[in-house]
Amino acid sequence: MTTTAPPGPASATTRPRASTPRRLRAPAAFLLGAVLLLGAAPLALPDSRLNLLAKYLCYAIVAVGVSLAWGRGGLLVLGQGVFFGLGGYAMAMHLKLADAATAGERLPDFMLLYGSSDTLPWWWQPFADPAFALAMTVLLPMTVAGLLGFLVFRRRVKGAYFAILSQALAAALSIWLVGQQATTGGTNGLTGIQGFFGYDLADPVNQRMVYFVIAVALLLLMAAARQLFVSRYGELLVAVRDSEERVRFLGYDPANVKLVAYVVAAGMAGLAGALFVPAVGIISPALIGIVPSIGFVIGAAVGGRASLVGAVLGAVAVAWAQSTLSDAFPAAWTYLQGLLFVLVVGFLPGGLASLGALRRTRRRAPASVRAAAPTTSAVATASTKETA
C-alpha cells in the first residue's frame, strides 16, 4: 500500500475534499443510501407510492449496468430493453405457471384464450421450476449478451454501429413476442400476475416485501459495481473507453474487457426485469422495444453515466418526472424528455453529477488546472467522441 486507493466513482467526477477522510466516503454514502431506501422510504411513503418507487428502483438497477457499460466502458448500450425483457419474461413465465397451478389450470389463462393447443409449449416447461426460472432471469440475458458481444467486439464493431445493432435486436425481439400471441401473450404481454413464490401480490404487506427485495438488490449491485469500478479491471475498462488502440498495444485484448462489462450490464438489466414483474404485475413487448431501450439510457445520461450514484439518481428522477409530469402536461413531457437528453449530451456530458465538479474547478483555477483534472476531462472527451 503505497499511496491512496484508486479513484472511486465519486472521485471520478468530483475532486475529493480534504476534510472528509476519503476512505470512509463510499461506505458512508452507502450507509446513507441504505438508511434512506430501507428505513426512511418505507416509513414515509404510503403503499401506492412505495410501489411506484419499487418500479423506479428497477430502472435504477438497469442504470447501474448502463453506468458500467456506457459510463465506464464507452459502449452506448441502446438495447438494454432486450435483457430487461428476457429477465422479465423468464420471471413472468414462472409466475404465470405458478398462478395456473394455484388456480388448478393446466395452462396460463392467456393460453386458454388464445392458444390452439392443449399442451404447454416445450420451452415453457422448464420454467415451472422456480430455481431454473430464477437462474434464467440472469443467465439468459447474459448468454445473449455474451454471444452478441463476442461476435461484435471481436470484429471491432463500435460506436454508432454497435448502438444500431443493439436497437435492431430490441426491435426484433419485441416484434417476435407480439407475433407469438398464443405462447407469449402478444402485445398484451404477460399480465395479471397474482402470486410471487407463494405470496399473494394483492396483499400490501407482500408488496412491501417486494420493495425490500428490490431495494436490497439495488444496494448490493451498486456495491458490487463500485468494487468493479475501483478494481484493476475497472481501470482497464476506462482505458479501453478512452483509447482502445493503446490498450491493445499494451498487450490486453479490449474485446474481452468490453465483453465483460456488456455481459454484466445485461445480467443487471435481466435481474431488473425479473424484479419489475412482481412490482408492477406485467411484462409486455412495449417495455422491450426501441423507445424504452432509449429510456433506460436517458436516466443514466441525465444523472451522470460515469458516476454510479448519478446514474441511479438520474434514472429514478427521470422515471418519477415522467409519472408526475405526464399527467399535468401529457403532450409536453415527451418533448421535455428529448430536450433534456439533448441538453445534457450536448452541454453537460458528465450529467448532473458533474455540475458540482465543474463549478468547483472553474472557481478554483483557470483552464490549466481543469486540463490537469484527468478524469473529468476524460469523461468529456470520451462522450464528445461518441456523440460526434
Partner: protein
C-alpha cells in the same frame, strides 16, 4: 485499502442480513388464500362531490383516438352535473394519462383508486391496456367502464363493457357479407391481440358457414408499407377484404389499395376499426364506398343522437365528428349514473347488483345492460363511407343483439375457447 474493503464487507453482510430479515418478517397472505381480506382502498363518497376517474391516453400513439373518447366522457360528466349530479352529488372528473403504455395504465388505475378514491373509472382503448388494468380493478374491487369494441372472451366482475363484443360487430358483419354472396375473404390486420383473435373467430365462422379464408396477413402496429400485402390481396381472387388494421396503417393501406387499381366496387373492404374520426384522417376519397361495421354512426337517426352531436360539436368544434367509441363512452357514464341511482348507493357491490336491466336512451338507440355478462345489448350496423366522410347505414340487425362474449350461442364457435 484493506481497511476499506473490510468495512465495506462488514457493511454488506449487515445489510443483507437486515434486508433478508425485513423481507422474511414482512410476509403477508399466501396465494390461494381468501382474497377478500386483501381488498384495497374504498371510494370516498362522503363529500358534496364524488370523484370519477377518466383513464385515457392523452399522449403517445393512441392519443389521437383516445382524446376523443376523453372528450365524450367529459361531456357526459358535464351533462350529468348540469342535471343535478348523481344522488345529489356533483361529479368531479379526475383525468389520468395512460400515455399509450400498458404498465402506465396499471399504475394510473392504482393511483385513481387508492389516491383519488374514485367511485368509478371510465376509459382504456386497447385490449392490452384493459388487460393491464384488469387485475388492479379486481384487486381493489373498483369498477371500470370500457367503451371500445373488442375481441370478446372476457368477463371481469369489475368491468362493464359498453362497446360491442364480437357477436355484436364481427359476427353480424360476416352474416352481411355472406348474404351478399361475398364468401371468399382475405384477412388483413395489425399485429396485436384484437386482430389475431378476431381472425381466429372469422376462420371458425367461415369453416362453419361455407365461407373461405384465402389469406391472412399482419402488419406491425404503425407500419406504412403495404405494397406486398395489397399485391397478395389482388392476386388472391377474394370477394372481400376483412380489415382489422388499426390507426395510421389504414392510411397507407387504403392509399396503396387505390393506387394499385382496386376499388370498393371490385373488391370491397369491410373495416371494423375505422370510424368517422379515422375517415377524416385517412381522407374520404380513399375510402368512398367501403364498408364498416359498428353500432353507431354520426348519421344514426333519433333525437338522442341529434342532441349528442350538437352538444359535442358545441363543446369541441363544429367540424368534429362523433364516432362509435365516443358514443359508447358517453353512454357508459349515463349507465353508471342510472345504476347508482337504482342502487341508491355508490357502493360497488350494490351498483353491480342493480346493473341488470338498466336502460339508457343512448344516441345509438335504447341500450340495456345485461347483468350476467356486464355487457350491453347493442344494434349491429353496417355502414358505407360517403364522399363527405360520413358513414351511412346500409344494413342493421333490426334491434339490439344480446351480448355473448364467449360466443356460447354459436355452434361453429364451440372450439374457440
Amino acid at each position: 485499502m484493506s481497511g476499506l474493503s473490510i468495512s465495506r464487507r462488514g457493511l454488506l453482510t449487515g445489510l443483507s442480513v437486515l434486508g433478508a430479515s425485513a423481507a422474511i418478517g414482512a410476509c403477508g397472505a399466501k396465494t390461494g388464500s381468501d382474497r377478500t381480506s386483501t381488498a384495497g382502498a374504498k371510494a370516498d363518497t362522503s363529500g358534496d362531490t364524488v370523484r370519477v376517474g377518466l383513464l385515457n391516453s392523452l399522449s403517445g400513439t393512441m392519443a389521437i383516438s383516445e382524446v376523443t373518447v376523453h372528450n365524450a366522457l367529459l361531456l357526459a360528466v358535464k351533462e350529468i352535473n348540469a342535471d343535478g349530479g348523481v344522488l345529489g352529488k356533483k361529479l368531479d372528473p379526475v383525468s389520468q394519462d395512460g400515455a399509450s403504455d400498458w404498465p402506465t395504465f396499471a399504475e394510473k388505475a392504482e393511483a385513481l383508486i387508492t389516491g383519488d378514491k374514485v367511485a368509478a373509472t371510465f376509459g382504456c382503448w386497447t385490449s392490452a391496456s384493459r388487460k393491464a388494468v384488469k387485475p388492479v380493478f379486481e384487486r381493489h374491487r373498483s369498477l371500470l367502464f370500457y367503451p371500445v369494441q373488442y375481441e370478446g372472451l372476457e368477463q371481469s366482475p369489475y368491468i362493464f363493457y359498453t362497446g360491442a363484443t364480437t357477436n355484436q360487430q364481427i359476427v353480424p358483419a360476416l352474416d352481411y357479407l355472406r348474404k351478399k354472396g361475398l364468401t371468399r375473404l382475405y384477412l388483413v390486420g395489425s399485429d396485436y391481440v384484437f386482430p389475431r383473435t378476431a381472425n381466429k373467430i372469422i376462420r371458425a365462422y367461415a369453416k362453419g358457414n361455407g365461407m373461405r379464408v384465402l389469406g391472412e396477413d399482419y402488419a406491425p402496429l404503425g407500419s406504412t408499407e403495404f405494397s406486398t400485402i395489397v399485391n397478395k390481396v389482388k392476386e388472391s381472387g377474394a370477394d372481400a377484404v376483412f380489415n382489422t388494421l388499426n390507426g395510421d396503417s389504414n392510411v397507407a393501406f387504403f392509399k396503396e389499395y387505390k393506387s394499385s387499381g382496386l376499388s370498393a366496387k371490385a373488391l370491397p373492404v369491410l373495416s371494423v376499426s375505422i370510424a368517422e374520426e379515422e375517415v377524416k384522417s385517412i381522407g374520404a376519397p380513399y375510402l368512398e364506398g367501403q364498408l364498416t361495421a359498428w353500432n353507431y354512426y354520426q348519421t344514426t337517426p333519433g333525437a338522442a343522437n341529434t342532441a349528442f352531436v350538437e352538444a359535442y360539436q358545441a363543446a369541441y368544434g363544429k367540424d368534429k365528428p362523433t364516432s362509435d367509441p365516443m358514443e359508447a363512452a358517453y353512454l357508459s357514464v349515463h349507465l353508471w349514473k342510472a345504476m347508482v341511482e337504482k342502487a341508491g348507493s355508490f357502493d360497488v357491490a350494490k351498483v353491480k347488483a342493480a346493473a341488470d336491466g338498466i336502460t339508457f336512451d343512448a344516441p345509438e338507440g335504447t341500450t340495456t345492460v345485461d347483468g350476467a355478462t356486464q355487457h350491453v345489448h347493442k344494434t349491429a350496423r353496417i355502414g358505407r363511407i360517403g364522399a363527405d366522410g360520413l358513414i351511412t347505414e346500409v344494413w342493421s340487425s333490426g334491434g339490439p343483439i344480446k351480448p355473448d362474449p364467449y360466443l356460447k350461442g354459436y355452434d361453429w364457435a364451440s372450439g374457440l375457447s
